[in-house]
């Protein structure tokens, strides 16, 4: 048993090695070799993660902290470079390496039209991403987590801007990076405050059940805790694309589709949820923050869902859907349904990766076309993609027994226990989800083909490297929910809650659990299922025989189509004032202030030296005169200054 834990450093190390090999030897290796190295590294990590997972599942497992070396050791601050393996991180390891591996395999086919160096560059970035993400979830303290946190942000930037010759893509990459930086600053300040307040950033020292520093805090809502948790949440807002920093995620769709699937849907954007779940005890002790988290999560869930209703780019719909689902996860965290949030991370990773990869398959078949108004009728040509995409839709819409149903239901039940209003709004968001997903499905795969004639000839089912990951993910989307069957359906059915219990037990003990009677739960579930089914059929019927509309959208629909004009709003209230301020600073402070000062110093020296130069006239007598004057001056100083 201990052997496995001796080897866990290999889990992040292998992707790092893959990154180095593919990155450095990108001009030498062949494509198949690059694919094997890139995917193989992740596969081995995945196998190790599975071993770790089974070890963690064993009876009597205690969280392992494996320390490798002193990372920072200054004064009282001691930060080890250490990994922590417990239930939460082992679950995330499985998601990251498992989904990551499938997406690597998918990419070998999806990216094969790239030239060899760029192909290798792609895989090296992807491996670097997996490495950073693993570092993020395995780190045993906030500092190591922050390293991974920054690493994934970097990889996200690199991969969004993968086609760097396109200016729009580069701008999207920069936008993502800057938005993330805003959040990261919050996270960093949170860490600083934590060091200041508790003197430690290690999860073990902060949260362990026996003598954790946080455990000994009895005061609820102490200003320090609220401050730290809010700052950490700002980090999560940036990374997990919540209001007000969500606008980077839809733009991040500029990257290759597998990247969108892996980074901008399945793993990186859930880092914020992981971080809050990891710090659950702090959040539990700060109900004010919890409320903020819940409200922001819910607002984002609804807001993004409404935007998704009117988008016509297949990836944009999925992107807004991701933002919306992340909002649900934050809602779950905010109402104290930590298990539900982590559960939703897991199921979301399955079905959203599936949907993105399916979308990638469609885009591939359509020769790069992303506008669903120009698709239609693809189900006849792409059977496997269609069926798997359909499964993904059902899963995300929350129709039982597919995975999304269980996790979303758990979050909504948690919200109901907290406040029925949250539940009602959340359910509204779920209905919107069902609507836009079935709209997407119907417009893409049903009806008549609306594209160009030669595109229709080109449409074909994708090769097996693409369809096999789709099938596996579809299978996981179907069964993924069965790990968390709610109590009222099957007693002891919530295997995930049992598994994660050690991580959340301290919080659960503090949170006053309002348990909902089983009848109410049946009622809620029943109502939500019926409503979702109705909405899904409605959307399906409405868009099944979609014809290209030439009329402009008007009124509210136009607002939605333009994403509530949020980008324009940010442009008006932040970007433009900032730019005019910069122009002002450039013209006034920089040019006539600093530059003038520096230049006048130079000019003054120049002028002064020209005057003083006259003294050096070559007349010996004049020199002697100067000497005498100097002597006299010194003499006078000697006499009078004392």
């Amino acid at each position: 048993m201990t052997n496995t834990f001796d080897l866990i450093y290999l889990i992040p190390l292998l992707p790092l090695i893959g990154f180095l090999i593919n990155g450095l030897a990108r001009n030498v290796l062949s494509k198949s070799l690059v694919s094997i190295i890139g995917s193989g590294a992740i596969l081995i990590s995945f196998v190790l993660s599975v071993l770790v997972f089974f070890n963690v599942r064993q009876e009597g497992f205690v969280p392992q902290v494996i320390s490798y070396f002193d990372f920072i050791n200054v004064g009282k601050i001691k930060v080890d470079f250490a990994f922590q393996i417990d239930q939460l991180s082992s679950l995330f390891l499985l998601i990251i390496t498992g989904v990551g591996f499938l997406i690597h395999v998918y990419s070998t086919s999806y990216m094969k039209e790239e030239t060899v160096p760029h192909f290798a560059r792609y895989f090296s970035y992807l491996n670097l991403f997996v490495f950073s993400m693993l570092l993020l979830v395995m780190g045993a303290n906030y500092v190591i987590m922050f390293i991974g946190w920054e690493g994934v942000g970097l990889c996200s930037y690199l991969l969004i801007g993968y086609w760097f010759k396109n200016t729009a893509y580069n701008n999207a990459a920069k936008k993502a990076f800057i938005m993330n930086r805003i959040g990261d600053l919050g996270f960093l300040l949170g860490i600083f405050w934590m060091i200041n307040a508790f003197g430690s950033v290690s999860f073990h020292e902060l949260f362990n059940h026996q003598n954790g520093i946080i455990n000994s805090i009895s005061a609820i809502n102490s200003p320090t805790l609220v401050g730290i948790t809010i700052l950490l949440f700002v980090g999560a807002i940036g990374k997990s694309a919540q209001i007000p920093l969500y606008t980077w995620l839809p733009d991040a769709m500029a990257g290759p589709t597998p990247v969108s699937a892996l980074i901008h849907a399945a793993t990186m954007v859930t880092a914020g949820i992981y971080m809050i779940a990891r710090s659950n005890l702090m959040y539990t002790l700060a109900p004010t923050t919890m409320m903020v988290v819940a409200i922001i999560g819910l607002t984002t869930a609804i807001f993004a869902a409404t935007i998704a209703l009117k988008q016509n780019d297949i990836k944009k719909v999925l992107a807004y859907s991701t933002v919306s689902q992340l909002g649900y996860m934050f809602l779950g965290l905010g109402v104290g349904a930590y298990t539900g949030a982590v559960f939703h991370v897991m199921t979301h990773a399955f079905f959203k990766a599936l949907l993105f990869l399916g979308a990638g398959s469609v885009i591939h078949a359509m020769g790069g076309e992303q506008d669903i108004r120009k698709m239609g009728g693809l189900s006849k040509h792409m059977k496997i993609t269609y069926i798997t995409f359909f499964i993904g839709c059902i899963a995300i819409a929350g129709i039982p027994p597919f995975s999304g149903f269980f996790s979303k239901d758990e979050i909504l039940a948690g919200a109901f226990a907290e406040n029925p209003v949250l539940y009602a709004v959340g359910l509204g968001g779920a209905l919107l989800t069902a609507f836009y997903m079935f709209r997407l499905l119907a417009m893409t795969f049903m009806g008549k083909f609306r594209g160009m004639e030669e595109q229709l000839h080109h449409v074909h089912e994708s090769p097996s490297a693409i369809t096999i990951p789709l099938i596996i993910l579809a299978f996981l989307s179907i069964v993924g929910g069965l790990f968390g069957i709610p109590e009222f359906l099957m007693s002891g059915g919530h295997r995930l809650a049992e598994f994660l219990d050690p991580v959340f037990s301290n919080s659960n003990a503090i949170l006053a659990k309002h348990t909902i009677p089983h009848q109410t739960e049946w009622l809620l579930t029943g109502v939500s299922i019926i409503l979702i089914l109705i909405v899904s059929f409605w959307a399906w019927k409405k868009y099944k025989n979609y014809q290209t509309e030439t009329t402009e959208e008007t009124g509210f629909a136009k607002v939605l189509q333009n994403k509530w004009y949020v980008d324009e709003l940010y442009d008006a209230i932040i970007v433009r004032p900032l730019r005019s301020l910069s122009v002002f600073l450039n013209n006034v402070i920089e040019r006539s202030g600093i530059d003038a000062l520096v230049n006048s110093v130079g000019r003054g020296v120049n002028f002064g030296s020209r005057q003083i130069r006259l003294l050096q006239n070559g007349q010996v007598g004049a020199y002697i005169l100067m000497m005498v004057i100097g002597t006299i001056v010194l003499f006078i100083i000697q006499i009078f200054v004392k």
Binding site: Q616, N617, G618, Q619, V620, G621, I624, V628
Partner: protein, 109 residues
């Protein structure tokens, strides 16, 4: 005699030296003025030595003549300097047929 007369004398000699060095252009006269300044200082050294050391001359005769020995050093060094300086002036005269120090500004520019 009071010490102040010695001081006045050497100050006067020194000022004459300075003014001469500053105003004259003939190298030899400048040179003589420098010698004048040196010797005014010598005079002052001897005078002060006499004033301070007359009391202790009986007890420590060696100490009493220290400053006066110093004067000899100055004279020796001055003699050496004179020989070098005169040699320079001779060389200068050979080259320029003049002992005007304003010719010596060739290094300028």
């Amino acid at each position: 005699m009071e010490i102040k007369w010695y001081i006045f004398l050497s100050a006067a000699l020194f000022c004459i030296g300075i003014i001469g060095a500053l105003t004259r252009r003939n190298a030899i006269i400048v040179f003589m003025c420098i010698e004048l300044m040196l010797n005014s200082v010598n005079l002052l050294l001897v005078a002060f030595s006499k004033m301070h050391m007359s009391g202790i001359a009986a007890k420590a005769p060696a100490l009493a003549t220290d400053a006066q020995l110093f004067v000899f050093f100055i004279m020796v060094v001055a003699a050496a300097e004179v020989s070098v300086g005169l040699a320079i002036i001779v060389m200068m005269y050979r080259n320029t047929h003049s002992v005007d120090i304003n010719f010596l500004n060739r290094l300028k520019n």
